[in-house]
């Protein structure tokens, strides 16, 4: 084998694909789409923040309106304090940031003529005089079970109403407790929820754990899954093109079929790695602690997993092995048949092996060290997909990792050997569609 020949083919395969606009569109579309799905809604909601001025008429006689004013002011203060404290990692509930609306409260006591007072408040809302957006009437029944009245220009602002309802409920609850002779502060202390702080034991894995770690592992799994399928199929298309246009006849007068196949596999593998690199790079940037915290995308109490160099290397190697395990198969299929239609019937067999790990995804996630997960991750065809999943969830023991590498490497070597022999014969065969038996025989021609 002449390495320079392999390199010339590799260069062509790589540059032709990377120079293609479609490659960049697809490569950038995935992270853009992913960000759009995850970030955009949060971003949109945070941008739709409103600030309402509300006149509250307190007919409860228990100072509920004043308490509400205090409550609203307290949450606003907490929020600005949190904003100043970012981007430090937050612990516990950070109510301020999830609030969609702030309120400025003006309190009134019921006038002698309530109807006149109501008419006047309606007029203020209608004219927008004094920038009043809404007014509320809190009757004495509010402390029992009656609703509070909310009069506004717009009554479909459910998100705003929801926030207001939350604040009001909190205040009314405390008033009720006080009236029942219970100290609200004491009550709060005693009924506090217990949070689960899920922390991964150091040295057992790379991720920060919890829900985010899980999402991260699944995202990783599907990125690899997509890459292996897409680029494996690209190998098949490329081989079919060379066969169909008879370019192959020109090429093999200059280089051997083996050099051609290896150049093609390595070139396309490198394209896949480039794409994966861009994707992982995006993940790396988007999940950098600073960025996530400032943009406030994370729910309270969750920290983002971070990629380590060791993990990146493992992913890259597993991708290369996975790519070769499947792409050699696709190269042999492409070489054996005359057109895409013929080839696709057989190539779907390859898809089955890629889909199988996706079907056991849930059980692997639930217990990454179960016998089934370990066995799957050691089976060469599944290793490239299951092992990264395990690594992201919980670092497997070194011996398992090493064994997986040895087995997959042996499998890939075998695949290269057998597929290159099929390729060598098939690539120059034209005419009728070969049977699987014939293709198998090609592998043993001398």
């Amino acid at each position: 084998m002449r390495l320079e020949n392999v390199f010339v083919v590799l260069k062509r395969e790589y540059l032709q694909r990377v120079k293609n606009k479609g490659f960049w569109i697809a490569t950038l579309a995935v992270p853009l789409f992913a960000s759009a799905v995850t970030i955009l809604p949060t971003l949109l909601i945070s941008k739709s923040h409103t600030n309402q001025t509300i006149v509250v008429v307190d007919a409860t006689g228990q100072g509920v309106a004043e308490a509400l004013k205090a409550q609203v002011a307290k949450t606003a203060a907490a929020k600005s304090k949190e904003a100043a404290a970012a981007p430090t990692r937050r612990r516990g509930p950070g109510k301020g940031e999830s609030r969609l609306a702030d309120f400025t409260i003006e309190t009134q006591t019921p006038a002698a003529d309530p109807q006149a007072q109501r008419r006047e408040l309606d007029a203020r809302v209608r004219n927008g005089k004094g920038k009043v957006d809404a007014w509320m009437w809190l009757g004495p029944g509010v402390l029992k079970e009656e609703p509070a009245e909310y009069h506004a220009r717009n009554t479909t602002n459910f998100l705003t109403q929801d926030t207001l309802r939350g604040d009001l409920s909190e205040v009314v609850r405390r008033t009720r407790l006080r009236l029942a002779g219970i100290d609200p502060a004491r009550m709060e202390e005693l009924t506090k929820r217990v949070e689960l702080d899920a922390v991964q034991v150091p040295g057992t894995g790379a991720s920060g754990g919890g829900v985010a770690g899980l999402i991260f592992a699944v995202v990783l799994f599907f990125l690899l899954y997509m890459s292996i399928l897409i680029w494996g199929q690209q190998v098949m298309m490329g081989v079919l093109e060379e066969k169909g246009t008879r370019v192959i006849e020109v090429l093999i007068s200059a280089i051997t079929p083996f050099e051609l196949m290896m150049g093609k596999l390595l070139g396309i593998c490198l394209v896949g790695l480039t794409q994966l690199g861009i994707w992982l790079g995006t993940v790396l940037v988007l999940t950098a602690p600073g960025i996530v915290a400032t943009m406030a995308f994370l729910p309270p109490g969750v920290s983002m997993p971070t990629l380590t160099i060791g993990m990146m290397l493992n992913l890259a190697f597993l991708f290369i092995l996975g790519f070769f395990a499947y792409a050699t198969f696709y190269a042999a299929i492409g070489a054996s048949f005359n057109n895409l239609q013929e080839a696709q019937q057989v190539s779907s067999v390859g898809v089955i092996f890629v889909v199988a790990p996706a079907m056991v995804l849930n059980s692997v996630i639930n217990d990454p060290s179960s016998t089934m997960a370990v066995a799957m991750s050691l089976f060469p065809l599944f290793t490239p997909l299951i092992m990264p999943l395990r690594i992201a969830l919980e670092m497997p023991p070194v011996w398992q990792l090493a064994l997986a590498y040895v087995l997959t490497l042996a499998f890939v070597t075998g695949m290269i050997w057998i597929c290159s022999r099929i390729y060598r014969v098939g690539i120059l065969m034209y005419g009728k569609k070969p049977t699987i038996k014939e293709i198998w025989r090609w592998a043993w021609y001398t």
Binding site: N5, T245, R246, E249
Partner: protein, 300 residues
Amino acid sequence: MNPILEVRDVRKSYGDFVAVGGVSMSVPPGSIFGLLGPNGAGKTSTIRMIMNITAPDTGEIHVFGHPRKPDDLRRIGYLPEERGLYRKMTVTDQLLFLGEIRGLKRAALGPEIDRWLGRVDLTKWAKSKIEELSKGMQQKVQLIGTVLHKPDLLILDEPFSGLDPINQELFRELLQDYRSQGKSVVLSTHGMELAERMCDQICLISNGKTVLDGDLKEIKRRLGGNSFRVVAEGDLDRLRTMPEVEHATVQDGEVKLMLRPDADGAETLRQMIGFLKVREFRSEEPELEQIFMKAVRDAA
């Protein structure tokens, strides 16, 4: 002089179908060699065996004076019958790639490619993708790809298909240039007129077998001793029924007549005068087409 390419009784069957049933040919250096034959005669099959794309069942192939080795193929430029180009690549990238797989350096290739593109009038298409080019233009790109590494032997399978007369002429000039450098060209075609204009040597195959082989002029001399041109009035078609006539082509009151080798021209003329008003009767060199038809018929 040692032949640059020698094919010795090569045979190839696919199951019961005999694609090549014994082809022999010998290509001297500095010649344009025509591999001729009707469709399905086995021309492409023979070429594919020369290029080691398929292996012959029996027979030998010698190039450059020795049995063919894989490395010899790098000294041969091959143009397959169908377009052997990547459709999505630009003309320049494609040619750079074809040069590089033959071990040429990019820096040296650039100017050479520009020079060739200029010569075949494709300079302004250099950055276009192959799929944007017409068939004839693709054929020119492919020919450049074939000669770029300055091979000692060119093997062109139907190089003129899809070319207009102007580009056929251009190809002819390029190939003659090539020959003048002492290199050889083997081309297959079923176009006899073209072959006649271009080739010094021919090998005629029919039904997978060589039926004629050698120097074109010599073949014509050998087989054309009994060819005549007749201008006459009357029932010209009746000429075909005469026992002495091997082959007759009638066109616009003019007949190209090929007699049996043992037939006597003067005697034939005497009989002809019996039913035709003969204006002209002249001995003439036969056209390759007539030789071809006769040879194919004889072989059958």
